[in-house]
């Protein structure tokens, strides 16, 4: 179990799980004791948490109904308390639904839904209701109008802290300007010291929910975040849990609750990705853990002492010599044919010939006879255990091991099999086998002066375990497993050990890279944006998707660290930044590679940048109960890193280009002072006329030069490309006189002005010209598109 939090996420957990062990205390007391866990540890934090729960709830409600969310949050000072109002335009709720949503603390479905939803984040609006009630003594005031409702309904709700049951006190009909939606009003103790976190939370929520309109009004500020897309997040489908993703506690609850009778039915019914074949593998793994395996020994060879036929013949009495002999021979041949035989296989062989030979000779080889036969044959088969063990140990250890030591270890291990008087079937669990090998190796080291290291021992265990056979015993029924924690644990282990294909990922709803981009553009006035949505991956049994986005430059603050925005299932994480895997990954990336300043080559980079990361999963692993920081799960960290690097690569090429353009601009600026000064002096020294340096400058800068030359009654526009690549330009010359038809360009008249539109493609080092007739009165206004300003010189 990664953290206590996982269990919380698994099920409705908290209240029941904790209250179960604290039956004697009231829910209020429980709340008091667990304030921190619930995110209400201080007045400042309590207000933020209440807003968070309310907004998450409101967003979920609207989205589930397919409505584009319009959320209004208001915080008012109300005497000693703060009044928090949260309104949504969701479907509204009926009286019957109210307790389910606002009441009963930590009410949840029977098991945690394998679905990406915000609710997984918090512990619910009900905690806020309770917090409000406990601190101010006031009930929650709820106004709601359903889509078909003519009137809005008004309720006052309190929670009975003894029974953890909600009670509706006031009930009334009221008028409300929203056509549908829900409004909740809570009064609570609090303060606005966490104003920054509150603003961050709202702003960040707006970034990852570009389809929502969010408004916040608090005592000193008022902010609105408009909707930029009408695209609702893809609906998520719920999936059953994946066998690799459940914790033991959850499994036990599932065992308690299932209608299935057999293990096979249970794993196929309750889990995703488990069919008959996978169920069989799980059951075999369960058998290995529950019953152990049986060692398969080599059947006695001719030159060896063991003689199965003779032994069986001796063991069978009163069945007639012919039948006895045929029976014994058949068993011996079958054993011989199998070469390797485990006890249960011998039992099977004996039983099958008991029947066939018995029928043929019209006699009955009964249970006792069969048992005797098995015992006799088994004794023969296991006469030479040491030889078998020796070959396995020898194969598993290196050639350099002293033969006498291998022999010593083999003898001791073989003796362990032999001396199991309580169980003659040579059956044991892997744990037992490990103990035997360990003990034998210790003894061999002690008495034979040998060395068997951890690795060698492990290999010997592996070799022996591989030789051992899974037994066909009937596995316990679900009801038995549910009652026995050890068995449940064995089943849990077995599920973990079975190869099962990864869970489906359709249950995830990423923001998508386009909308990440939109969200960033909406809230940050930057020069550059990039975003990435990775493909789904799996950690444990839970699928997850990581998304990243970067915004850089523009209006963002130059000095100081970049901002890191963390999200889990579309909910901003505003606390415990330092404990979060997202922050860790950002810090570990060498941002200098991506052209950002990073003192010491580690840590949050400096500069006017925002780095956002969104982790969407059916089960986001958090570091603690308050769900503020993503836990350091390697699979998730890897994906976070890849997502950030993807976006950072775009940033790098942008910054590279920008820097080269800056350099270019600096050079051009410098030359723009030097060259005229040169020209000026040259004019003086040579006594010649005025010089124009534009052409020279364009040539030096490899610029594209657009030049106008005036002839008599005509002008010429020339594009000279001094760059090393093709230039594709859109030149628009706005002329105040009619230029007539222009060869190579389009002329459009608009309000007494003529737009000469020319789109030349000029190869490196070449030039292109158009000419048109105008009289001397004409004035011109030229615009050139299709090339960076830094690379363009217009002299026209």
């Amino acid at each position: 179990m990664t953290s206590f939090q996982s269990t919380l996420a698994e099920g409705e957990g908290i209240a029941e799980e904790l209250a179960e062990s604290q039956r004697s205390i009231s829910i209020a007391e429980f709340f008091e004791k667990n304030r921190q866990m619930l995110g209400f540890d201080s007045g400042a934090r309590g207000l933020v948490t209440a807003v968070k729960e309310g907004v998450d709830n409101a967003l979920d409600a609207s989205e589930e109904a397919g409505i584009l969310p319009d959320i209004y949050v208001e915080i008012q000072e109300a005497g000693d308390y703060y009044r928090l109002i949260i309104e949504d335009n969701g479907p509204g709720i009926t009286k019957e639904q109210i307790p389910k949503i606002f009441g009963k603390l930590l009410y949840g479905s029977r098991f945690h839904k394998r679905e990406q939803n915000r609710g997984q984040q918090g512990i619910g609006i009900s905690a806020a209701v309770l917090y409000s009630q406990l601190t101010s003594g006031k009930p929650a005031k709820i106004t709601s109008r359903t889509q078909r409702g003519t009137d809005a309904k008004y309720f006052e709700l309190t929670i009975d802290t003894d029974s953890n049951e909600p009670e509706i006190e006031g009930e009334d009909t009221t008028s409300w300007d929203r056509p549908h939606g829900t409004r909740i009003e809570l009064e609570m103790e609090g303060n606005m010291r966490a104003r920054q976190q509150l603003h961050d939370y709202i702003k960040h929520t707006a970034v990852v929910n570009p389809h929502a309109r969010i408004e916040l009004r608090e005592p000193s500020e008022h902010m609105k975040y408009e909707r930029v897309t009408d695209q609702l997040p893809a609906e998520t489908e719920e999936i059953r849990p994946h066998p690799h993703g459940v914790e033991l506690g959850t499994l036990q609850k599932m065992l308690d609750a299932t209608d299935s009778y057999s293990v096979s039915g249970f794993v196929q019914e309750e889990f995703t990705r488990v069919g008959g074949k996978t169920a069989d593998s799980i059951i075999d793994n369960f058998r290995d853990r529950h019953f152990g395996r049986e060692m398969a020994w080599n059947a006695p060879r001719e030159h060896e002492d063991g003689d199965v036929a003779a032994a069986v013949e001796d063991a069978v009495a009163n069945k007639g010599s012919e039948a006895t002999s045929e029976f014994a021979g058949a068993v011996a041949d079958a054993v011989d044919e199998r070469e390797l035989v485990a006890h249960h296989q011998l039992v099977e062989v004996v039983a099958s010939f008991a029947e066939t030979v018995g029928e043929k000779h019209d006699t009955t080889f009964g249970d006792t006879v069969q048992e005797n036969a098995v015992e006799a044959a088994w004794t023969e088969i296991t006469l030479e255990r040491t030889a078998d063990v020796y070959s396995l140990v020898d194969g598993a250890t290196t050639d350099r091991k002293d033969d006498a030591h291998v022999q010593g270890l083999a003898e001791r291990v073989a003796a362990k099999f032999e001396n199991r008087d309580d169980d003659p079937r040579d059956r044991m669990t892997r744990t037992e086998l490990e103990e035997y090998v360990d003990k034998s190796a210790d003894d061999t080291e002690e008495y034979d002066d040998a060395t068997f290291g951890e690795k060698a021992r492990g290999k010997v265990v592996d070799a022996l375990w591989d030789r051992m056979r899974t037994v066909p015993d009937e596995v316990p029924k679900i009801s038995a497993i549910a009652e026995d924690r050890d068995m449940a644990s064995e089943l849990h282990d077995a599920m973990r050990a079975t190869d099962i294909i990864a869970p489906p990922t359709g249950c995830l709803s990423p923001i998508t890279d386009d909308l990440v981009l939109e969200g960033l553009k909406k809230e940050f006035d930057a020069d550059f944006y990039s975003s990435t949505t990775r493909d789904a991956s799996v950690h444990g049994g839970d699928p997850f998707i990581v998304e990243a986005g970067i915004a850089y430059g523009g209006d963002m603050e130059e000095g100081g660290k970049s901002e890191v925005m963390r999200f889990a299932n579309r909910v901003p994480l505003v606390y415990q930044r330092g404990a979060c895997a997202i922050t860790d990954v950002v810090k570990d990336i060498n941002w200098r590679n991506y052209k950002l300043d990073q003192p010491g080559g580690r840590g949050i980079p400096n500069g006017p940048a925002v780095i956002m990361v969104h982790v969407a999963s059916t089960n986001v692993p958090f570091t603690s109960e308050s769900k503020d920081a993503v836990a350091n799960v390697p699979e998730i960290e890897d994906e976070i890193e890849r997502a950030i690097r993807d976006s950072a690569r775009d940033l790098k090429s942008y910054l590279k280009k920008r820097r080269s353009m800056e350099k270019r601009r600096r050079k051009q600026d410098k030359l723009a002072t030097i060259l005229p000064a040169m020209a000026d002096k040259l004019e003086g020294v040579t006594g010649k006329g005025e010089l124009n340096i534009d052409d020279t400058l364009a040539r030096i800068m490899n610029n594209v030069l657009v030049e106008r030359e005036y002839g008599e009654d005509s002008v010429q526009l020339t594009v000279e490309n001094n760059d090393s690549t093709n230039a594709q330009l859109e030149v628009t010359d706005i002329v105040t006189e009619d230029p007539g038809e222009v060869d190579g360009a389009n002329v459009v008249e608009m309000d007494g002005e003529w737009f000469v539109k020319w789109s030349p493609t000029v190869k490196a080092g070449e030039e292109a010209t158009i000419e048109y007739a105008v009289n001397g009165e004409a004035t011109f206004d030229i615009q050139v598109e299709g090339i960076e300003d830094e690379k363009l010189t217009v002299d026209a």
Binding site: K667, K670, L671, T673, I674, L675, A677, M678, A679, K681, L682, E683, G684, V685, T686, K688, L691, N692, I693, D695, T696, A698, R699, I700
Partner: protein, 366 residues
């Protein structure tokens, strides 16, 4: 005025303006102004068989306005041309150092020099591209103070009229000071057998005190370290015009060999003027590494920079002779260097009584 001056003042000014006009034309055609000059490094000097001196090879460096630093250099060149043209027009002169300080007054900051090396180098660049010597620009170096002592009578054109001077009789112990442009000197008469160029002041004073110039009819030229152009020019004229053999007497270390090199072969920095400044027939007296061994002179060990310098000389085209190869290898072998004045370890008169006569005799000078 000397006979082989390449240009008179009017001509010098015109050439400068021609150079400016080239830049003007480049601008006018929309081209990028450029100035191409020979690369001034060891690897780009070649021996001119005809003239017997080392000159620049074919490799050129281009100062182009394509880069900001290139454009700055050209801007400075144009400002300097403007200044020189004015100076010539007004028939005034200035020192290299004055030029450096003068640039501080340019209103265009980009045209100001960052260091005197930069302005010195620019003047050399302009000499090369305009084919006008610095002296003709009326640019002087700082006073080098190098002197001549010996049986020679000259006439110097000074700003205060002509002066006739005998370099033994009309001068004090300090000797006759070489003017910045030795082409203003006319040789009248002499009674000399050879020229002896001496690196250090101490040794020069020793020779004068011991009356070496009188006893051996030697014209003692004080090089004062790396010799100034004027000193080298005068030495060359003494050789070319008076037919006197030239010998060079320096310390026995790699830096001093370079002093000899610049007298005899021309310096790398001013190889464009080698024909005018170098005396290829000049002979090296010592201190030779072999003298260190032979006379068991007091020495200092070679430092790392000495060794590097010696190794670099082994690759210097100017030192590719058997003699120098042998001497340098020997010095690297013994790992020692000696000063001229270390000869005093054998007595103050040893140098004039024994060492120099022996060496000059061996070289066939006396």
């Amino acid at each position: 005025m000397s006979t082989d001056s390449t240009a008179d003042d009017g001509d010098a000014r015109e050439r400068l303006i021609d150079l400016a006009a080239q830049f003007y034309d480049q601008f006018e055609h929309g081209d990028v102004p450029t100035m191409s000059i020979p690369t001034r490094t060891k690897s780009n000097i070649v021996f001119d068989d005809e003239k017997g001196v080392w000159v620049y090879g074919d490799r050129n460096s281009t100062r182009s306005a394509k880069t900001v630093s290139g454009a700055q250099k050209l801007l400075k060149a144009i400002y300097t041309i403007d200044f020189l043209a004015q100076q010539l027009e007004e028939n005034r002169s200035s020192t290299l150092r004055e030029l450096y300080y003068l640039s501080e007054s340019f209103e265009q900051q980009e045209a100001q020099f960052n260091s005197q090396d930069e302005s010195n180098q620019l003047i050399e660049d302009l000499e090369i591209v305009s084919d006008v010597r610095r002296e003709e620009f009326h640019m002087r170096p700082e006073e080098s103070g190098a002197t001549v002592m010996g049986p020679l009578k000259i006439r110097e054109q000074t700003r205060r009229g002509e002066r006739e001077i005998h370099c033994q009789e009309d001068v004090g112990e300090g000797g006759y000071q070489i003017p910045n442009d030795p082409d203003t000197i006319e040789f009248l008469e002499n009674d000399a057998d050879f020229v002896l160029c001496v690196e250090t002041g101490g040794m020069r004073d020793r020779l004068v005190e011991n009356g070496f110039d009188e006893e051996y009819n030697a014209i003692i030229v004080h090089l004062k370290g790396q010799p100034a152009r004027a000193t080298r020019r005068l030495t060359k004229r003494l050789h070319d015009e008076l037919g006197l053999p030239v010998t060079v007497f320096t310390d026995g270390d790699p830096w001093s060999y370079r002093i000899y090199g610049s007298v005899a072969y021309g310096s790398i920095k001013s190889a464009h003027l080698s024909e005018y400044l170098a005396t290829p027939e000049a002979q090296y007296i010592g201190i030779q590494p072999e003298d260190i061994v032979e006379y068991d002179l007091p020495t200092d060990p070679l430092g790392d920079s000495d060794i590097n310098a010696l190794e670099s000389e082994l690759e210097d085209p100017r030192f590719q002779t058997d003699y120098w190869n042998e001497q340098i290898e020997l010095q690297l072998d013994i790992g020692k260097k000696a000063e001229q004045q270390s000869l005093a370890s054998r007595g103050l008169d040893f140098v004039t009584d024994t060492y120099l006569p022996d060496r000059l005799d061996a070289m066939g000078i006396i």
